[in-house]
Symmetry: C2
Subunit: 203 residues, 2 copies
Amino acid sequence: MKLFDGGRAPNPRRVRVFLAEKGIEVPLVPVDMGANEHKQEAVSSRNPLRRLPVLELDDGTVLTETVAICRYFEELQPEPALFGKGPLGKALVEMWQRRMELNLFLPVGFAFRHLHPAMKGWEVPQIPEWGEANKPKVVEFLHLLDGELAGRRFAAGDAYSIADITGMIAIDFMKPARIEVPAECRNVRRWYGEVSARPSASA
Amino acid sequence: MKLFDGGRAPNPRRVRVFLAEKGIEVPLVPVDMGANEHKQEAVSSRNPLRRLPVLELDDGTVLTETVAICRYFEELQPEPALFGKGPLGKALVEMWQRRMELNLFLPVGFAFRHLHPAMKGWEVPQIPEWGEANKPKVVEFLHLLDGELAGRRFAAGDAYSIADITGMIAIDFMKPARIEVPAECRNVRRWYGEVSARPSASA
């Protein structure tokens, strides 16, 4: 098996952090997104959406989509459980993974892609008004998240999960998107500090 | 347990179709989204994001997010499996559920919310240029999907899954969003006709 990796880009990093938490090593095929290599044959023949990461199994089966790749490894090696345990535990992780993704990760991505000068040729058309419209959505969600994290250690409960990975990387992504975590969101800052200090965060 | 339901809106319908496929009956609490009832106390106290559907368990635990609610029922009652079987089967369903959601359901929603006159007070600011930018993304994905469906019956393989539910409802949602399935996408039309003919589609 091999994982076509995209370096510093957020989605490839989500999978690398996940694998680090699992203690699973997968051979990486580096793809230079800065040089548009993900739009060339090696990736586009495996993922017509031309996005990374892409996992290729030994029989040639291709898996794309960050969370699908993570789930494959969760099913192969359930411990430590990063998608939750039991019906309610799994549902709560899914709920928070999705909240982090739809209300934080995606809006941060829209702000970055529609406002950053370097994204002009990547996001066509680049619509600055849409980029700006996403910034208050991010801040509003961080306030909601702050209230939730007042009562628990991690995004979905007492255990670290894929929801924390998505959230941490979304907050890292706020830097190039030029959005700041509000100073009053002390619980978000405490949680972010803790998840960022895990060895997996540097994967 | 009770399910706060939003009538014709796409996400509440995804859960109702899922439950119909499972043969599970859950008491519904109707919420009139047209009258903005989802922004009032009954919903907002349970889901600060003020979105539907919302599932409340008998002990008061609240689950939100369409796919998280579906996964809860999948874990409680695994058959018929709508999230796939085995590590690879589950990963492929997750991959196609996400492709349907991120490349079809969401762009259709953006086109609807940013272009339809009735959404003016709902989507603030309404950015018509962003709505228009999503229409070609939808058409491009339908061509990709058409090629995939040439080789198999359902979105993620030989078995019907949650990926088909998300895809079917996204295509239904194209009508108010004023986007048409291209005539040449014959495999999409065949698949859509089949999934729409299932009794669950009217849930």
